[in-house]
């Protein structure tokens, strides 16, 4: 069931009404049933998968708490994490592994006929597996286990966050289930505004930008270097609005039931360095990677070399988490490398002693924002390209930009010649607006405008969004990008 589908338009209000009409003690079972209905509406059989993993984690993890010896705790934790990862590996990485093995064997002259498997990636598996691993590690670190099976089962399956996060923390989520909640219209107002805003981001912005991106990354040979930069910017905004839109709908849907789930984005394109970017982009994943991969690997406690190694491994595996393909791995590795370079740069600047002064300079800050945005955009090429060949073609185009800029003329821009669909030439108008709006929103945040928008503004925005979404929602809206992960 897609958030931008008619099914969800029926499903959500139905569950919402039932939830608030039901006494508190029946609300968790109600949400659990609703969440399984939501999940099984796609492929009913995969309901068994999420249930099986839930049951296994619920039964095994308490043994970590009960174990008195540290070694024993570690063994059970290792077993739990391995069990979750094996399930993820089977469903997500089987084809990728077989392809890699086949290619490797091919190098040494062995022609291996790989078995033909019929594995369809279950929706949201990467997200709920990470939630299970988080739970096991937290219990290992001394946090209490969840005693009630229904509460525990709702934690990974909670329908607003089930398919594409945000990745929740059980210490934040489960306690909310126990508090006898009273209906408040604030929940509805905030929730509805988030849902409408999220849908607008997806339908009005991301889906339109997708047309340009799709063309550019399918046929980079048809576009000039400057075109490819514009297309890459377009993808940067497409993926942001797509995923931020999803997160808004997820958070809005949760709020309708009075539950808060973590945020995922905090204006990532105003980050002044890559480290800052990762504190603002897919926050629930980056904090998960920090807490359950980077820190267990040793974090930044060891030598410089070890810290850099840990960073690289964390980001590369984070890349692979996004998809079983070399270009995702390359994207992760790229992020790891740029984070290492950033650390090294900061260390050098601090050594020289001009770091503090520079940081305070506004010019330096805004130059850093622009530079970081471009570094991130180059990373998005690895992410978006269908394979490494396309990735190479797009990157080589991007690096021709200095020469193209020296001989700039409007005729270089192929996107200006495409008048159908009009989004192609409109890109030169839309992209600056999107870029500037990021800074405007940051300014409005500083002025605390969003904390208390006037009532009339809220109503007007909601009505306008309802009208726009009614008009522009296509009959079959494309899926969210993060659904495939």
């Amino acid at each position: 069931m897609l958030f931008n589908s008619l099914q969800y338009l029926v499903f959500l209000p139905t569950v919402f009404l039932l939830f608030w009409l039901t006494p508190h003690r029946f609300r968790v079972p109600l949400l659990l049933v609703a969440s399984y209905v939501f999940y099984m509406s796609w492929r009913p059989i995969y309901g068994l998968l999420i249930f099986g993993l839930t049951l296994a984690n619920f039964l095994i993890v308490p043994f970590i708490e009960k174990a008195t010896e540290q070694k024993r705790k570690k063994v059970i934790l290792g077993f739990t994490v391995a069990l979750n990862l094996i399930v993820l590996a089977i469903f997500k990485y089987a084809y990728f592994t077989m392809d890699a093995v086949k290619a490797t064997l091919g190098v040494v002259g062995v022609d291996w006929k790989e078995p033909h498997l019929h594995i369809i990636l279950p929706l949201g598996i990467s997200f709920f597996v990470f939630e299970f691993i988080h739970y096991a590690i937290e219990v290992y670190r001394g946090k209490p286990v969840v005693k009630n099976f229904l509460d525990f089962a709702l934690f990974p399956s909670f329908f607003p966050t089930q398919i594409a996060g945000p990745i929740k923390r059980y210490q934040d989520f489960v306690p909310q289930l126990h508090i006898p909640v009273k209906f408040k219209w604030e929940y509805v107002d905030e929730g509805m505004q988030l849902i409408l805003m999220g849908l607008a981001k997806k339908v009005l912005i991301a889906d339109n930008l997708a047309l340009v991106v799709q063309a550019g990354f399918a046929h980079p040979e048809q576009f000039s270097s400057l075109d490819m930069w514009l297309i890459t910017y377009a993808f940067a905004f497409q993926i942001f609005f797509d995923f931020a839109g999803y997160t808004d709908i997820a958070r809005g849907s949760s709020l309708l039931f009075g539950y808060k789930v973590p945020i995922n984005f905090n204006l990532p394109y105003i980050a002044s360095n890559v480290s800052d970017f990762w504190r603002r982009w897919h926050i629930s994943l980056s904090t998960w990677l920090r807490d359950y991969l980077f820190i267990p690997l040793g974090g930044s406690r060891g030598s410089k070399w070890l810290t850099n190694r840990n960073l690289f491994i964390t980001m590369a595996l984070g890349g692979l988490w996004h998809g079983a393909a070399f270009h995702y791995l390359a994207w992760g590795a790229y992020q790891g490398i740029v984070l290492i370079l950033h650390r090294e740069y900061e260390a050098v600047m601090q050594k020289i002693g001009i770091h503090e002064k520079l940081l305070k300079s506004k010019v330096y800050h805004w130059a850093s924002v622009v530079f970081t945005f471009h570094v991130v955009c180059i990373g998005w090429v690895f992410f978006r390209a269908d394979d490494m060949k396309i990735c190479g073609a797009v990157l080589s185009k991007l690096f021709e930009a200095p020469t193209a800029l020296l001989n700039f003329s409007a005729s270089q821009l192929a996107i200006l010649q495409i008048r159908d669909p009009i989004i192609f030439p409109a890109l030169v108008l839309i992209l600056p607006v999107l870029m500037v709006s990021t800074f405007v929103i940051n300014w409005l945040n500083d002025k605390k405008f969003y904390q208390s928008p006037p009532w009339a503004v809220q109503v007007t925005v909601m009505v306008a969004l309802m009208c726009l979404l009614t008009i522009f929602t296509p009959d079959s809206s494309p899926r969210f990008i993060y659904f495939q992960f």
Partner: protein, 459 residues
Amino acid sequence: MTAAPHDTKENLDTQGSNQAFKRVVQDERMGGENQTVFRRRATDKLPPEKPRASGMRAATTWAILLFCLGNFALSFYNPIEFDPYDYLYRGWTWWGFNDMKKSPHVHNVALLGSSLMVSAVAGVDANYLNKTLDLSQYHKAKYLSDNLVTRFGGTFNCLNLSIPGQMPSDAYMTLKAMVATSNRPDVVVYGVAPRDFIDSTMSSAADTETFRFLRRIVNIDDVAANVFRTPYTRLEWFINRTFYISEHAADFQLKFKEGSENVVNKLVACPKTDHPFTWWNRIKLLPSYLPGEIRPQAVMTGPISEAEARKRWINNAPEYVERYKHPDKYVYRSQFYFLQEIAKFCKKERIELVLVNMPITSFNINLLGPKRYLQFLGDLHIFSMKNNIAFYDMCTPSNYSQQDFHDSVHLNAYGGKKFFDQLVNIISLSGRTRQAFALSGQDLERHQAVANSKPNHVQ
């Protein structure tokens, strides 16, 4: 609108400490009784508490109310006049109706059917007229018209509204739309084939371009039960007809498209180049954008020599294996329902319906399975008898060889010629159809004579 209003630094700070976050959550979920105490102790930064919204003060309530009232007012006053024929998506049906609307001629015979009929008409006419035909602009059946004149006398003007993939539900909409736009034909020749009733790649009648375009012109209330397969598609239809903005979403989209094109064209000049970007370039660049849309010169058929036509053969078996893969009983039943509705509508409008089972190769029949094919044929016979419809089974392997086809189902120019010759022959053999065609020819001749004499009479 670049970020969620709640993705703010403040929120991040609040979540920085799990403990504080939990306390805020707990406090809020308790109904806010301890909010002031908590805030005073823990977070001085938070803005002063707003008065709690009641149902009548909630922004959502008012937004929904205003949205509904606005739609109601727009439906009541109908302030904008939209042209139902002006449509964003220009597929085969749109071009057919566009041509029909522009045509000053009265059409007394209409041809309906899928690509089997399109292919037969286009092939035979390109050879007959000895010119290349642009199928987005050409909707006549000249060879058939002249053949009918020769056989029955009078005047015949055939309009070909068959389109690739047309199912009985589409044919029903097409016929109703023809009549709704004052183009009532006297006779309808409807060529059917098994694919039209069991295509596995179609989930419901409402999925086609024809249906989506023509429901702007035709009222489908009476057949709604059979159009919408799931409660959701039915709900979508209900929403569309209830809310003005939803009903006219395509019109608003078109206006927005035109408006944004104007603005962008004014602000962003199109650089002059030797190779301007064409529709063909777009198809290559964005194959999945508006699939099925056609433009002038997108589908052309030219004259072809007999030797060349008989030599040409395309193996489309994989396509038909897919189409016949999972024959859907629901689709089969619902398409027969629409055939029934066509028969009813023709009776009501006093239109003579001639149902024709189109020739296909025995190879294709084997792909479908002879048992299924015979059942289909039997059902057509029963249907025609029950509804007292003229039905001709033209799919006789003895009459057509593989050389008459350019793939397993589509007749080539020479197969098409054979088909129309035999059709006219069969029509003339049956008293009922002979009389219908003869009367129609005479009527149109008389009509044209009156129309031609009008200016003299006025003088």
